[in-house]
């Protein structure tokens, strides 16, 4: 149970970017997991070369990823969205981005499994008879912090509210004198910046190769949809549900069922509540 909660916190961190970009902006950015892996490699390189902590690196790299995200969005906007060709061609575009990132990482760093070192990896604390691994606890806490930060950003700041607005009614926003493209660029950048941190968390938990992203595509989108498109709190709830379901299944009924049950929950939830758990 506790392991599931921890895992859920981490899943939330990984899915936040998708929730923002896919859920709110309605851009099917399937390259998001590749950006997460890019974040993992940034953490790996800084950890190996300078002994910098992975999560600290993740935080330091958020501006870089923000700029990267903004550039990618501009490219996407100029080439597809502006011409109203975003749906299918946009999907292909992000598929391309995914492969480019993957192959570039393969070429530069090879395909060996990469890990980072940190003092807390491999240690655990005992809380009321339950050993909690720091390797999972730290990413979970960071994930929660990220969720909270993003939630506050969206609900309290001007730009955050503008992002919410652009997801609801683009035209109305334009009539209010705000530029939807600029707002979307910012939101996209924030989503990719979240990937930087998520990547750092990922490599703290498990070893990473350039193709690890494919393991996460399904989970990330499932969590976003289950939580309700664009609902940050929903993402957290869905992530925790999936994490707990996976852990409980692994412990009590055999791990081979864990993924099937997670996605089973998604199917049931969508049948009962098509908008997602906390969707509008």
């Amino acid at each position: 149970m506790v392991a599931g909660l921890l895992l859920g916190g981490f899943y939330a961190a990984v899915s936040l970017g998708v929730s923002l970009i896919f859920g709110l902006l309605d851009i099917a950015n399937i390259a998001q997991p590749a950006f997460v892996i890019l974040g993992s490699y940034a953490a790996y390189v800084m950890n190996r070369s300078f002994g910098l902590d992975a999560i600290l690196t993740g935080l330091l790299f958020t501006p870089v990823f923000y700029v990267l995200g903004a550039v990618v969005y501009r490219l996407y906007y100029e080439s597809f969205e502006r011409r109203g060709e975003e749906s299918l061609r946009g999907l292909v575009f992000f598929f391309g981005v995914l492969f480019i990132i993957e192959v570039s990482l393969s070429l530069k760093y090879g395909v060996d499994y990469r890990l980072v070192e940190a003092a807390y990896i491999g240690k655990s604390i005992d809380l009321g008879g339950v050993g909690i691994a720091f390797r999972l606890l730290v990413p979970c806490l960071v994930g929660l912090a990220m969720t909270l930060a993003l939630h506050l950003f969206l609900s309290r700041t001007f730009y955050g509210r503008a992002v919410m607005a652009v997801s609801q009614d683009r035209l109305a926003l334009r009539l209010m004198g705000a530029d939807p493209v600029r707002i979307k660029t910012i939101a996209f950048g924030v989503g990719i910046a979240a990937a930087s941190l998520a990547g750092a968390l990922l490599i703290t938990i498990a070893p990473v190769v350039p193709s690890t992203d494919r393991d996460y595509i399904g989970r990330m989108f499932a969590i976003t949809v289950l939580g309700g498109m664009g609902s940050i709190a929903g993402t957290l709830v869905a992530a925790v549900i999936l994490g707990v379901a996976e852990s409980l299944m692994s412990t009590f009924f055999g791990p081979s069922w864990s993924l099937a049950v997670s996605f089973g929950i998604l199917l049931v939830a969508l049948a009962v509540r098509p908008a997602g758990l906390l969707g509008r």
Binding site: S124, G131, A133, L259
Partner: protein
């Protein structure tokens, strides 16, 4: 395979075969031309972490041979393509190698899944085919001209686990209960089948037997469930990410069986070893090569490793090269020796010689037996001992990966139980 497909294969193979035969008119006229060896190799995709080092090993062999004047007085040339770890590319690659590039000899790419699609082609064209680390590829075909270099031996299914359970059975106090766990994927499933057979053979009692999906992120629930069974022996059949996950979780949860490890792929890789460091201590795991005196005694191995390690960084591959590369080198070494001895590139003559001969290679004496596997299996069991920190240099020398099995290659004693070696 569906009969229709077989027929199509037969037809294509037949047509192409006839074309090749027609083109074999004057082989002797090309005496000064290079001998071309063709293969596909996983240079990208899931198996490229092994495919690229394997390629480097084959290239080193080629350079060594050419320095000595080539084979049959002709230089050796390699023709290879990236199979992208995708079995679907294999038929196309080998058809091109044989029909367009007109290579003289072919070897397989790395790994069971990439050898499987090559088997029908080899059989259609009656090729002598060298397999690089395929598990039981020839079990069903029983094609006589297939030779495989992974030292799994005549019974590949139990080969990974046999040393592990033999060692366990010898310890005092004798362990009684076993937990086995592995990924839902081909190799782990095979290894688990073998493990179950051996558990029965040695009379242990199974208290946990489960599999998990390969994309599992958190392994602590699994390890916790195993810990609750209090098993004496924990046998794990896993791929690299899960090996790391299981090992970390075992430390976090405080798993303390008497013997732990078995079939964990990945712990052999330098990048993993240098990241896991002391967490490896005590793990008893399968391996194929370790820098122990017993393994370094074979002729040519030191020179090969020196050359490999010098070139590894530039090639961007595993810097030590202790797992697969010596065997990749041995594979072409065997083929080269067969060509020299038969003074021929005739596929059948080569196969007959390969079947009958014991070869001296950098990994020791190699003799092929049933189904083209090693006549006698030689999968090592090693135990990680006295690993301090995560420096790479400690793994270059002996003493960190002590060979426990088989007896004739043993380089040290097991530390038992697991907890005694753990810290």
């Amino acid at each position: 395979m569906k009969p229709q497909r077989i027929r199509r294969w037969a037809l294509t193979g037949g047509v192409i075969g006839a074309l090749v035969l027609a083109g074999l008119g004057a082989p002797t006229a090309r005496a000064a031309e290079p001998i071309r060896i063709g293969f596909g190799m996983a240079l990208t995709g899931g198996l490229s972490a092994n495919g690229k080092p394997a390629l480097l090993a084959v290239q080193i062999w080629k350079d060594d041979v050419n320095k000595r004047g080539g084979l049959l007085g002709r230089p050796v040339e390699l023709v290879y393509y990236d199979d992208q770890t995708n079995p679907a590319t294999v038929p196309g690659i080998y058809t091109k190698l044989l029909d367009v590039d007109k290579v003289d000899l072919v070897i397989s790419g790395y790994g069971t899944n990439l050898i499987a699609p090559l088997m029908p082609i080899a059989m259609e064209r009656k090729l002598t085919i060298m397999g690089m680390f395929g598990l039981a590829n020839n079990e069903k075909y029983q094609y006589p001209n297939y030779f495989q270099i992974q030292p799994a031996g005549p019974d590949p299914q139990t080969s990974t686990a046999i040393g592990f359970f033999e060692l366990a059975a010898k310890q005092t106090p004798r362990p009684q209960t076993v937990a086995i766990v592995g990924a839902d994927a081909e190799y782990p499933q095979n290894a688990l089948v073998g493990a179950r057979e051996l558990i029965k053979k040695f009379g242990f009692k199974t208290v946990y037997d489960r599999t998990y999906p390969p994309s599992t992120v958190d392994y602590t629930p699994i390890v916790r469930a195993i810990k609750a069974t209090n098993a004496d022996i924990v046998f794990v059949a896993s791929y690299p990410p899960d090996s790391v996950g299981m090992l970390r979780a075992a430390h976090e949860v405080g798993l303390q069986p008497k013997i732990f490890g078995g079939g964990m792929v990945g712990l052999q890789f330098t990048s993993v070893m240098t990241s896991m460091g002391p967490m490896l201590n005590g793990v008893v795991n399968y391996d194929f090569w370790a820098p122990e005196p017993t393994m370094l005694a074979f002729p040519g191995i030191k020179e090969f490793l020196k050359e490999y390690q010098a070139r590894a960084e530039k090639a961007g591959v595993d810097p030590l090269g202790y797992y697969l590369p010596p065997y990749s080198y041995a594979l072409v070494q065997v083929l080269g020796q067969a060509v020299e001895a038969t003074k021929s590139l005739d596929q059948q003559k080569l196969a007959d010689y390969l079947r009958a001969t014991e070869f001296n290679t950098v990994v020791g004496k190699v003799k092929f037996g049933k189904n083209g596997e090693w006549a006698k299996g030689r999968t090592l069991m090693v135990q990680y001992q006295k690993v301090h920190g995560t420096g790479i240099d400690q793994f270059r020398g002996p003493g960190k990966k002590v060979v426990l099995y088989p007896e004739e290659l043993k380089s040290g004693a097991i530390v038992y139980p697991y907890s005694a070696a753990k810290n």
